[in-house]
């Protein structure tokens, strides 16, 4: 793959390392706006081609190279720039446009502009806090593509447990495991007990439907 990563900050650091692991033989081009940082980046990521460009030059670079790029990742420290570059990438038909947000509150703004892959690095804060602090229902993970969802449900009453058993008995296309209050991992509906957690994996639609049926 030929990937263009724009930005040389915190998010870009993790993105560059991930790309190297995912596609060791691919071509990674990193664009950074300050010459000092670009120099440091080229030493930090010797596997990448690091370019120093002015903010306004990046758009023409994207336009010129769009036909040979497989993916554009906008990971600067400004969501305004990320949005600008994603839009240019989309207009020039780069197959994969990925934005790494600085502020999750910009998610909808990016989505409205037609950016399909929007990474929110803070999305795990509420998820993990919900698990740790014992929230009743928690959507742990929603895959960016494919509509797959992983949900965690705390068994709070006999009635709740009964409803869940009834609904899950009818659903063959949902995978589940159960973690009892004592921390044992089980995989049968008959093992459900009060205070434990049920983890469901399936399509977003089906999982949401079950949560609705059991009153979550």
């Amino acid at each position: 793959m030929r990937v263009l990563l724009i930005g040389g900050g915190h998010s870009a650091y993790f993105a560059a390392n991930a790309i190297k692991d995912i596609d060791p033989t691919g071509k990674l081009i990193i664009i950074e706006f300050t010459s000092e940082k670009a120099e440091v980046l080229s030493k930090t990521f010797p596997f990448a081609e690091v370019l120093h460009q002015e903010i306004d030059e990046v758009e023409s670079y994207i336009k010129t190279n769009a036909s040979i790029l497989d993916a554009l990742i906008a990971a600067t420290e400004s969501d305004s720039l990320n949005l600008r570059y994603c839009k240019v990438g989309r207009e020039n038909a780069i197959p994969l446009i990925i934005a790494i947000l600085n502020n999750p509150l910009n998610y909808e703004i990016f989505a409205k502009e037609g950016i399909r892959y929007i990474i929110n690095p803070y999305s795990f804060i509420p998820v993990e806090l919900s698990e740790i602090l014992g929230s009743a229902t928690n959507i742990i993970y929603k895959l960016p593509a494919g509509g797959v969802m992983l949900a965690s449900i705390k068994i709070e009453s006999e009635e709740h447990m009964h409803k869940l058993r009834k609904e899950l008995d009818k659903s063959n296309d949902i995978s589940m495991i159960f973690v009892s209050r004592s921390g044992e991992i089980k995989n049968s509906l008959s093992d459900l007990d009060l205070g434990g957690r049920l983890y469901l994996l399936g399509s977003e639609k089906k999982i949401k439907n079950i949560l609705k049926m059991v009153g979550e």
């Binding site: 903010i55 969501d79 305004s80 600085n102 502020n103 509150l105 910009n106």
Partner: protein, 269 residues
Amino acid sequence: MVNAGFRLCPLNLYTAALRIVWMEISVIFPTKNREGYVKRAVRTAFKARAVGEVIVVDGGSRDKTLEIAEREGAKVIVQSDLIYPGKGVAMRDGAYLASCDVLVYLDIDIRNMTPEFIEKLANPILEGEADFVKGCFERAAGRVTELVAKPLLRMFYPELARFRQPLSGEIAGLRTLFYKVEFERGWGVDVGLLIDLHKLGARIVERDIGYKDHDMKPLHALTDMAYEVAGAILRRAIRDQKTDPEWAERYLRGVRAIDLGLESGRGFA
């Protein structure tokens, strides 16, 4: 990048006319929880001559500021870091989202805002007279300006001491200029831009935009503001080898201890 002066000859008049015809303005409003002001501000901005877009940069409003701004046709973005004070982050994000040649920054809560506010700020640029315009208005300069900014500017950048309101947030400038400087993240952004753009060789003028009817900053914000303004000037003075870091650190500690009227309730007029 920066024009080397502007003489009144036919060619220059022609160039000036072209600039007026071709240059467009992005009006940028950094804001937070200002649903009561946003509709009027965006509509007024669109009425000004040569305005091509209006941008609202939000600091994480809990009201309908963003929704109204979008409905009124503004481009919207939430500032990349929700820090306090994050004025500089909002200004930077506004500049980065803008696509017109000239940027005009205004407070959104100016109750008597008219299109002329924008035109007065942008005209010196459209007419080729300046690259950066600092707005000033009809009121005595504030405490942080008089007690902190002006003395430090006189000391380290005397050529900038002529500005009546060096901390004014009503500014205009060529968009490309804003891409050549680093924005301070907080209250130090306005004076930081003034010093850095001066250092870049930009032609800077000050323009009186008249009476500005708006909410004053709450008193509790002044101490933080004083500290950040002093920090922004001193960091540049160190960078430009006009002072040593030790002296700057001592001065900053002093600024922290200034009584701006918060504790005693006396303050200064």
